[in-house]
């Protein structure tokens, strides 16, 4: 009975299309192949590499709410920072085990996401944007004022992390950090990929595209948005926890408008709502920043601003969008 039901379902073209969309394509393995190859090709850049993975995970968490659910936020670093401080403070206070520390970072950030989501997702538009900003400023102020536990403006120092599984020690060449961050990123990606292709993920996209219709078909819109916001906050917290554990330092600027803006820009560069925008945008942004920003931060800001405006005017899908267009052109010419 069940089997026959399944086979009849399989014949339906709509189901077929959905299943095909969900299926793993070979090109989706490319980022992972590059990441593994980069370990052997650029052994001097492993620290930068692990930070890129962290930012990819962070941008991926933003893509979930911005790209799929359509919530525009300028305060996503609030959750990244809460995760970083959670992992960091645990380690300073004597809990040195990394994986449980990371889970704790995710949970605490998710709780903050849930509470703030319940408050701010009642509004929309410019007001919502302002509230995301307000939350990041509020938490930054809190971290600054609670110097006795967070280290305040001097940053949180004295983080010591045990070897992963008791065997892989964090080394000064960032080898362990590289693989650790990559493994967590892989898990995060698998989770988000599953989520966006699930009915839950489809309902988020529906909300983004047409709220009124989703209300009409009985979707609990607010609850879906708060759930997505909470999950995204948790993922951002894990990314922040990774940063604290791999760099063994937490600075006050992990909870800042600047970082929120930076991760938004990374995602825009890559392409929003595509799952892989984060994988393109974060490395491009961070490598460019590593090369250019140190020489002259003022020009860096100027160019970032200009590129943002150009993207909005001419390339709304980011780098992935441009690639899509190019492929489309080539295919049309062949025909």
């Amino acid at each position: 009975m069940i089997l026959s039901g399944k086979s009849s379902l399989k014949n339906a073209p709509a189901v077929e299309a959905l299943v095909r969309r969900h299926r793993l394509r070979p090109i989706e393995l490319l980022p992972w192949a590059i990441a593994v190859a980069a370990y052997f090709l650029f052994p001097g850049y492993l620290a930068l590499g692990s930070q890129i993975f962290i930012m990819v995970l962070f941008a991926l968490s933003l893509d979930l709410i911005l790209g799929y659910a359509g919530i525009i936020t300028l305060g996503h670093a609030a959750f990244f920072g809460v995760g970083a401080y959670t992992a960091g403070i645990l380690a300073v206070q004597g809990w040195h085990e990394p994986i449980s520390g990371l889970i704790a970072a995710g949970i605490v950030a998710a709780i903050v996401g849930l509470v703030s989501g319940l408050v701010i997702l009642r509004t929309h538009g410019l007001t919502l944007l302002m509230l995301t900003l307000a939350i990041v400023f509020m938490l930054n102020e809190a971290a600054n004022k609670a110097g006795f536990i967070t280290g305040g403006a001097d940053g949180l120092q004295g983080i010591a992390i045990d070897p992963i599984f008791g065997t892989f020690r964090f080394d000064m060449f960032s080898r362990t950090a590289y693989w650790y961050a990559l493994a967590v990123l892989f898990l995060g990606w698998a989770f988000v990929r599953l989520l966006v292709h699930s009915p839950f993920g489809r309902s988020l996209t529906g909300i983004r595209e047409n709220v009124a219709r989703m209300h009409a078909i009985g979707t609990p819109v607010r609850r879906r948005l708060v759930t997505a916001y909470t999950i995204s906050a948790g993922l951002a917290g894990v990314a922040g926890g990774l940063l604290a554990q791999t760099t063994e330092f937490v600075a006050l600027n992990v909870i800042s408008f600047e970082l929120s803006g930076a991760v938004l820009i990374m995602l825009i560069f890559g392409g929003v709502g595509r799952l892989y925008g984060a994988f393109i945008g974060a490395p491009v942004y961070m490598i460019a920043e590593d090369e250019l920003a140190k020489a002259d931060p003022v020009y860096w800001l100027f160019w970032i601003g200009l590129i943002l405006i150009l993207i909005v005017m001419f390339a709304r899908g980011g780098i992935l969008g441009l690639i899509d267009q190019a492929l489309h052109q080539i295919r049309r010419r062949r025909k």
């Binding site: 911005l66 359509g70 525009i72 300028l74 408050v119 701010i120 009642r122 509004t123 538009g125 410019l126 007001t127 944007l129 302002m130 509230l131 900003l133 307000a134 939350i135 400023f137 509020m138 102020e141 809190a142 004022k145 408008f257 803006g261 938004l264 820009i265 825009i268 929003v272 003022v298 020009y299 800001l301 100027f302 970032i304 601003g305 200009l306 590129i307 943002l308 405006i309 993207i311 909005v312 005017m313 709304r316």
Partner: protein, 290 residues
């Protein structure tokens, strides 16, 4: 007892002066938001530009304060017409995300440009001698500059409100905010109306930036530093409203001053907590329509 009253009077006085600047800078944003629904985060850039023009004219060329303000208004107003026609107008139909990104891009470029021309530090504001010192009112004395600020601002605000209520342009703006399609079908050129409103809002922001250069110091990150306050004033007041932001600015200006004075440890929290509570109560703002 006298000390308490002195403290209250001082808080009210400084808070009001601060509120006036917040309002004059933000009101244009509220009206343009109500007119076209454009999420213009770069509104503070026009205030900053006004501040720079004012301060530069006064410091480097010895131009009097009032004339500098006038020039700043004109320059920024005219520049904003060009920017609106060339850039903003192309994005009215775009999504909110695109508008946000575009205006963040503008802010970044403005920060870089301001740093390049004027350097990273706050501008020195050489106050005219007439505004230095104190003035006596009854038994108390107040800083002359802030008293001047309040008086001038109230005059500007009254002028603005009369303009919105009594002039033809004001009527057209109100009509378009209420119902843009209907206004359009009655023959109002909403495109031109918006350009005009945008320019007026920017000129007002420039005026606020110049007038308040002593309170909100003119430095390259001005537009980001105070962004959240401008947005709070507009959202708490209610988008599209002209009077709502005035009440919101007073609440925020006086509340913020009081908290920073009475409980400096947690001063900044109050504004954010109060804003959230207010918006939980009325998500569309005090004078907004849901």
């Amino acid at each position: 007892m006298d000390a308490v009253i002195a403290a209250i009077v001082s808080i009210l006085f400084h808070g009001t002066a601060y509120a006036m600047i917040l309002y004059i800078v933000s009101v244009g944003l509220s009206v343009t938001m109500g007119l076209m629904g454009f999420a213009n985060l770069a509104h503070g850039v026009f205030a900053m530009a006004g501040g720079y023009v004012t301060v530069t004219l006064m410091n480097d060329y010895g131009v009097p304060f009032a004339l500098s303000l006038l020039v700043a208004c004109l320059v920024v107003g005219l520049a904003s017409i060009v920017i609106e026609r060339v850039l903003y107008a192309r994005l009215y139909a775009a999504s909110e995300l695109e508008q946000v990104l575009f205006t963040i891009g503008l802010i970044f470029m403005a920060i870089a440009a301001a740093k390049f021309v004027w350097g990273p530090f706050a501008q020195r504001f050489a106050m005219p001698e007439a505004l230095q010192g104190q003035i006596e009112l009854g038994t108390r004395s107040f800083p002359a500059y802030r008293a001047f600020l309040i008086v001038v601002s109230i005059a500007i605000i009254l002028g603005l409100w009369l303009g919105i209520e009594r002039t033809n342009l004001g009527a057209r703006i109100r009509a378009a905010v209420d119902n843009r399609r209907m206004a359009q079908s009655l023959g109002i050129n909403t495109g031109r109306l918006f350009t005009l409103t945008f320019a007026l809002g920017s000129a007002l922001a420039a005026l606020g930036g110049g007038l308040g250069a002593e309170i909100l110091a003119i430095n390259p990150t001005y537009a980001i530093e105070h962004l959240v306050y401008f947005l709070i004033v507009v959202s708490v007041g209610g988008l599209g409203s002209v009077r709502g932001p005035f009440v919101a600015a007073l609440l925020i200006g006086i509340g913020d001053t009081a908290c920073k004075y009475l409980v400096p440890e947690i001063g900044a929290f109050f504004i954010y907590a109060a804003t959230m509570a207010l918006l939980l109560w009325r998500p569309a703002g005090l004078f907004g329509r849901a």
